[in-house]
Amino acid sequence: MKYPRTPPDEPETERITRRPRVPVTVLAPDYQQTDLLHRFAADGDNFVIASDETLASAGLLGLIRVGRAAVIAPDVTSRTPGCECCQVRVDLVDAIRHAVLRRSAPRRLIMVVDRATANGRDRACDDDPASDVVTCIHTIQADSEIERLTRLDGLAVEVDARSASTRLACELRLWSEQTEAALAIADRIVVTGARQLTTSARTAVTHELRMVNRIGRISLDNPTETGVDDLVDLDAWHRAPQCGVGSPRASSSRSERRTPAIDTVVLTRHGLLDPDATDAWLDRVVAAAPARLLRFQAALRVSTHEHRVCVRGSRSVMRSQSERDPAAMSPLEPRTDGDSVVVLIGRELDRHSLSERFASIEATL
């Protein structure tokens, strides 16, 4: 990972001709749920990228005819043969090119990742990379052509409240490994059907979700009634990490005994960091276990930059840009130059070692 170069002064005309990157919202609906997709499709600004089965089951195949949808068929391969962390969805490249390279580019892309199974009903499909949300997220960030045309805006994952509550009450496995990974890195978790649960059941489901996800917002409202505005234009991946949004509270329920397989490690540090030492630390973090690193997000105060540098990535890929960059900040977000913050989400992360090494990065006085 290299820190972004300070952009050179560009002529005004060059800035005008540069095409804005189209935001991509990745949507992982629950098994055979199409309500959210319908809501997204109702907005004419959205271009839907989904499998033909999903579009057909939602009755939305007609969107293709009017140029508002493109079909994908999972085409997974690895940039390095046999390497899990280098797996990419090749089909997404063509689909995004076809969607964006139009005379009138869409305002947003909604990419639907079909979940092969829900709630751990079928362990056999747990390793299927075609339905892996993390592979899609990784592809969007790793492929240079997708990176040129689009930017990852956010990840919304849908959970069926009734199913989750029932499985929780029966002490069954709540979700598959892939679903848990998607939930852990999600920016929004939409719990559908929550109104049909009792207050205690809602609390229990929310608690379980918060155990897995510490960065996103959990919505128990019914988005099919209130709209999906809360799920788009998040700009969640290009700015400083939003960690600790409702940390899991102490609970005496039996779910407390379950330890999530995915950890969220939050590291903070005061003062200016040495850029080379920070770079070396980041390289070590990625090299240690790229396949286990599901999401990485940081805002680092390095001595060579006036403002913090936002770093994001998943698996083996990392991208960075200055926090001052307009794409790195929400328009409503106050400009703050706070401490360095790092959020790592992954499997079997060594919290102690990560913390120690981050603390040992040389500071610049």
């Binding site: 060059e14 001709t17 095409r19 033909d52 293709i64 005819r65 140029g67 493109a70 079909v71 068929a73 085409d75 997974v76 391969t77 690895s78 940039r79 390095t80 043969p81 990419v88 090749v90 089909d91 063509d94 076809h98 390279l101 139009r102 005379r103 492929d143 240079s144 052509e145 040129r148």
Partner: protein, 334 residues
């Protein structure tokens, strides 16, 4: 054709321009020099600026001339849509990606399969060959009855007359493929950013050109197979290949554009055309690699470039639907 010093006095004269209803997705010249320009909405310009068809398919991914009076458009859902054969319905081929034609055969590459058609006006039933390389992303004729297919799982050299795969090469996802059958050579780039220079007589022992951190999507080779050009970011890299297929010396790198290169195509005369995301098209001569010999300008990102078979006419398409046809003339020294 060997490049001459005349290249240095090259001029590019715009013949005509027009605007298609949507972004230009693909350009193809017929053997006799008729232009096919396919727009992203499925409409097609055929030969003249005022001859634009209604949308033939909602999301076309490839198209080709079938002779001079017919054409085929590929859609992953609809299959093969043809024009010029009085056929109303498309030929179904789920997952079709690429179409090419040569020597009376039309080949459609798709999801692990290759469909080989005879004359599409007569024969609707293809011979299907399983390639074993997953989804096809590139397809080209290399000579005789041999075709090369690039896919997710690598490369396959297919003999369409025998209906079987001759050689299969496992590579990490082919993104671009350029064969030069006359030179007995092909180049292919993969997802790992490696360019493979392969001799057709021995595909297993090729040369790897490395140094790219991203896949090289824009690849070209001179007609004699001695120069490979790769476009990555704003840079062109020229690799000289020796007679035996090995790399001769260090490559020549040129920062060719002020923006990302989005299209690259070489002509039969040895010229090279490169387009970028700001709408600039540069014409390059192999004799002068530091500066373009001519430049054309469109308003938006270049999405397709195609030379005709003579190498004298160049078509460029942009994301706004703008289409430009220019005559590229090498100068004559007194």
């Amino acid at each position: 054709m060997t490049p001459s010093v005349d290249h240095l006095l090259t001029t590019a004269t715009i013949d005509w321009t027009t605007v298609l209803p949507d972004a230009v997705r693909l350009l193809d010249w017929s053997p006799q020099g008729r232009l096919l320009a396919l727009a992203a909405d499925g409409s097609a310009l055929v030969e003249h600026p005022d001859r634009v068809t209604a949308p033939m398919t909602p999301d076309p991914c490839d198209a080709v001339w079938l002779g001079e009076r017919a054409l085929a458009v590929v859609d992953p859902l609809d299959g093969l849509v043809t024009a010029g054969f009085h056929r109303v319905r498309p030929l179904p081929f789920r997952g079709a990606r690429r179409v090419e034609t040569h020597g009376g055969r039309t080949v459609v590459a798709g999801d692990g399969r290759l469909a080989v058609f005879g004359h599409l006006g007569i024969d609707d039933t293809p011979e299907v060959i399983w390639t074993g390389i997953g989804v096809s992303h590139a397809c080209a004729h290399v000579g005789g009855t041999m075709w090369v297919i690039g896919g997710t799982g690598g490369l396959a050299l297919v003999d369409v007359a025998l209906g079987c795969v001759d050689t299969r090469l496992k590579l990490p996802g082919i993104v671009a493929l350029v064969p030069r059958g006359a030179a007995g050579r092909l180049v292919a780039s993969d997802l790992a950013g490696v360019i493979h220079v392969l001799e057709l007589r021995d595909l297993d022992n090729g040369t790897e050109l490395t140094g790219y951190c991203d896949p090289v999507r824009h690849l070209s080779m001179s007609p004699d197979g001695r120069t490979v050009v790769a476009g990555a970011d704003d840079e062109l890299t020229l690799w000289t290949i020796s007679e035996d297929g090995t790399v001769a010396g260090e490559p020549t790198c040129v920062v060719a554009h002020n923006a990302t290169i989005t299209a690259l195509e070489s002509s039969e005369r040895g010229f090279l055309a490169s387009g970028d995301e700001h709408g600039v098209v540069h014409i390059w001569s192999p004799l002068l690699t530091e500066y373009p010999v001519a430049t054309l300008q469109l308003g938006t990102e270049i999405t397709a470039i195609a030379w005709d078979s003579s190498g004298d006419r160049l078509a460029c398409g942009a994301v706004s639907g703008e289409l430009l046809v220019a005559d590229i003339m090498a100068g004559a020294l007194a």
